[in-house]
């Protein structure tokens, strides 16, 4: 190829570089937004449960164990995506999962659990999203890993994928469970 022809191929080469860069950029996880709450005590709450308004679920009840707090809502489509995974995880019984039902209505939330299955030990009913705000929720679903001391150790923004579950969440849970 002569140099003059190379000149005309230059835009193509530059563009190829750009595409490579963007491809790498895509693989960086934009959901990996560092949460300021990592390593901090989980914000306390005491809320009525989804199943029955007269029963309450509070953070104090959960202390002393490693658990997952999954933020969900019946109007959230991505929650359905991760739901089978949560059901499976609940069956395996490795770690208890609690739900935070976010900006939802009680009946639709109950109907949703009936229809798709209920992986949660219990779900707190956060109708106005107040507790969600304190936990720094900015999209549903989100999942938090809380350790025995009540510190938030991990936050997954968006649906849990099998990969994230096996490679990040479960190893972390095991490690936290073994710790004193």
């Amino acid at each position: 190829m002569t140099t003059s022809r190379m000149r005309f191929a230059l835009p193509l080469l530059v563009f190829a570089l750009l595409v490579a860069l963007l491809a790498v950029g895509l693989r960086l996880d934009p959901r990996e937004v560092p949460s300021p709450l990592i390593g901090k005590p989980a914000p306390g709450f005491s809320l009525p449960q989804v199943a029955a308004a007269e029963q309450r679920l509070s953070l104090a009840d959960l202390k002393g164990q490693v658990f997952l707090l999954n933020v969900w809502a019946s109007w959230c489509l991505s929650c359905r995506e991760e739901h089978p995974l949560l059901l499976e995880l609940a069956k395996r019984g490795i770690v208890p999962i609690y739900g935070l039902n976010y900006k939802d209505e009680r009946e639709t939330a109950q109907a949703w659990l009936k229809r798709f299955g209920d992986p949660y030990r219990a779900s707190a009913f956060d109708a106005d999203g107040r507790i969600g705000i304190e936990w720094g929720v900015y999209g549903v679903p989100e999942t938090f890993v809380v350790d025995k001391q009540g510190l938030i150790r991990y936050k997954q923004t968006g649906p849990i994928t099998p990969e994230v579950l096996e490679k990040k969440i479960l190893p972390l849970v095991r490690q936290l469970q073994e710790a004193a």
């Binding site: 835009p11 193509l12 595409v19 950029g25 960086l28 900006k103 106005d128």
Partner: protein, 658 residues
């Protein structure tokens, strides 16, 4: 039911786009006329199906069909009808559908205004537009279907993002998309010309009005976006160098370069390969803009929707469209011969300089926008490049443009007589700067060197633009006859360049003399800023259709002349995020701007007060550029030229380059 109809119509549109994208192209290659004739009906049918699909989605919004996930996420039964319709393009899925619909609209426009274009060329153009449409429609159907159902349906929706519940933001996306997508016409012409080997001045003349109209829409979209950011975000700025703003600004810069270089290609048959490359770049940057906004690669205040799966799809699409056209360019462009000869001091070279500056500016914005991504990709951490970088890089690139835009048209084609030009401007140049500097020194206290230089340049730009017009008018003897004899394109250029001067004035003066104060104000407090006394009377609760607000009452006075301003702090019932609704008293010479911050004790508020001189001029400059573009596009020459293309398809591309 309506939604399913819309979904089916969308699939039908895809099938039409496939027809439109394949048969005419093959027909043009093989010389099968029947295949080529598929292009027009397929293009029109595609548009009709897209329209049906779009109307179905709109109907779902109007009837509050929350069983659609997209409707449930972006609307609410309390949302006023006007915003329910605007909510159709309030988020990702719907705005992509709008993108596709607008592409269909441009396609139909091409089928209508091309009656006498060579069949083969038209077939190629429409085919390429069809292929672009195939990509977009696949993207919508597979990753962003707005007709997805939600079972069980929620009782009510999550409401439209309050930031978007505003007039400016409802018309901004359609305008911007008209511009983005309109550049696909110039792109398709360029690629069709490369494919067919008809890269000639007729091709350039044909592309010009389309490029101009797309550029007008793009200018309009950007101006609206800037105006919206000013009054809605409550920060009082008009441009933030935000990645999403940059994404619209880059195609604008390249399209501006394209308009100028098309002139050279049409009039002089020069810069052919370069013009084609610009046409490819302009549309590529539009697609890149879509990619950056939609993929979540860059986070930004504007990123209302982002999803990596979508990003990958758009990236592949981008690679095919842009990579394919650049590959074609690298194969065909070496055979293009520029026949024109021109001297060093010629309009050709000045326009080349204009092109280099504009493209460099676009390139530096691209660099600044992607630089944080590069660092992140190399694992060097997350950083953001802000206004300091852009302002530093931008000013020196723009300065020569402002200096030369006015006198550029005084330079003749081929070879300019420098001494004659010098005779015309030798008094004007120092005079303009004297006026500018004088104004800065006398009328505005505290002018620094930058203000004087900026204002002087603005005056010079306006004066030299008018002098250029005057020189042409004078040739006709009497000035009335002279004014009549000028073509709409000459007026278009004059008005657009004056717009640039007005814009520059706004930027310089509002940048230097804007005053702001963040203060705590209790009821009956007053604060003085730039000679204006702002007096606060406290707030009261007001209720809107889907929000409640605290409305503050202010009285602003200066020398007995007073007016009332009522800014609001709104809380939308469903989304619950607080929104600042600034109160603005607009004026030719200054804006008064009050925004409520946070409530404090005893009825006091933190309040932001701004006095912004000449800020309107920024957008007025944009409006003048729009007017100029429209004037230029209305030139009769473009309508006459159509027939000539059909008659004389001269060939200037050798199919086998040496």
């Amino acid at each position: 039911m309506i939604a399913e109809l819309g979904h089916i119509a969308l699939i039908m549109a895809l099938l039409m786009a496939l027809l439109q994208g394949t048969f005419p192209l093959l027909g043009a290659a093989q010389g099968v006329e029947v295949w080529m004739r598929v292009a027009k009906p397929a293009g029109r049918a595609q548009f009709l199906f897209l329209l049906v699909s779009f109307l179905c989605l709109a109907a779902s919004f109007v009837t509050n069909d929350f069983s659609l996930e997209y409707v449930a996420r972006n609307s609410n039964s309390a949302l006023p009808l006007y915003y329910r319709i605007a909510a159709v393009w309030g988020a990702h899925e719907g705005s992509m559908l709008l993108w596709a619909l607008i592409l269909g609209l441009w396609t139909v426009a091409v089928t209508i205004f091309s009656r006498s274009l060579a069949e083969e060329f038209l077939a190629r153009v429409l085919s390429i537009m069809g292929l672009v449409s195939v990509g977009i429609l696949l993207f919508i159907l597979f990753t962003s279907n707005p007709f997805e159902r939600l079972v069980p349906a929620p009782n009510d929706g999550a409401d439209l993002n309050p930031l978007l519940q505003d007039f400016g933001m409802t018309v901004h996306p359609p305008m911007l998309y008209m511009g983005y997508v309109g550049l696909s016409v110039a792109f398709s012409f360029a690629v069709a010309a490369l494919l067919g080997g008809s890269l000639d001045s007729a091709w350039a003349r044909w592309s010009r009005p389309w490029t101009l109209i797309a550029w007008v829409f793009l200018t309009c979209g950007i101006t609206l976006g800037s105006w919206w950011a000013y009054y809605e975000l409550g920060w009082g700025g008009w441009w933030f160098w935000d990645p999403v703003e940059n994404a619209s600004f880059m195609p604008w810069l390249v399209a501006t370069a394209l308009i100028h270089s098309l002139a050279v290609t049409e009039k002089r048959g020069a810069f052919k390969a370069w013009t084609v490359l610009l046409a490819i770049f302009a549309f590529s940057l539009s697609l890149l803009g879509t990619f950056l906004v939609r993929s979540g690669v860059l986070t930004s205040v504007h990123a209302f929707a982002s999803d990596p799966a979508r990003g990958l799809f758009i990236l592949i699409f981008l690679a095919i469209v842009v990579g394919g056209s650049l590959l074609l360019y690298s194969l065909r462009a070496p055979g293009v011969r520029d026949v024109a000869r021109y001297g060093f001091f010629s309009r050709e070279n000045l326009l080349l300089l204009n092109n280099i500056l504009l493209v460099t500016a676009a390139g530096s914005i691209l660099l600044g926008t992607l630089y944080p991504l590069v660092l992140d990709a190399l694992g060097l951490g997350k950083i953001s490049v802000g206004p300091p970088y852009f302002s530093t890089v931008f000013a020196p690139l723009m300065a020569p443009i402002f200096l030369l835009a006015g006198i550029g048209a005084m330079f003749g084609w081929r070879e300019a007589a420098l001494d004659r030009i010098w005779r015309r401007v030798r008094y004007l140049l120092p005079l303009s700067y004297l006026v500018g500097i004088g104004l800065a020194a006398v009328a505005f206290e505290g002018s620094d060197f930058k203000t004087m230089a900026g204002l002087g340049t603005a005056v010079w730009l306006a004066a030299s633009t008018l002098a250029t017009l005057w020189n042409r008018v004078r040739l006709r003897g009497h000035w009335v006859a002279g004014l009549r004899a000028q073509s709409p394109s000459t007026y278009g250029m004059t008005v657009a360049h004056l717009g640039l001067a007005v814009f520059l004035t706004g930027v310089v003066l509002s940048g230097r003399f804007s005053e702001e104060k963040w203060v705590r104000m209790a009821p009956d407090d007053s604060v003085t800023l730039s000679g204006y006394t702002f007096r606060f009377f406290g707030t009261e609760k007001v209720t809107g259709p889907n929000f409640v607000a605290q409305e503050g009452k202010f009285r602003v006075e200066r020398e007995g002349d007073g007016r009332e301003l009522r800014p609001q702090k709104r809380s939308y019932r469903v989304q619950r995020n607080p929104m600042t609704e600034a109160a603005i008293d607009p004026g030719w010479w200054r804006d008064l701007y009050v925004a409520l911050g946070e409530p404090m004790d005893n009825g006091a508020w933190s309040v932001r007060l701004y006095v912004k001189p000449f800020i309107r001029w920024v957008w007025c400059g944009g409006l003048l550029m729009i007017a100029g573009g429209l004037l230029a596009a209305s030139d009769r020459r473009y309508r006459l030229s159509v027939r000539r293309i059909a008659l004389a398809p001269e060939r200037s591309v050798a199919t086998k380059p040496a």
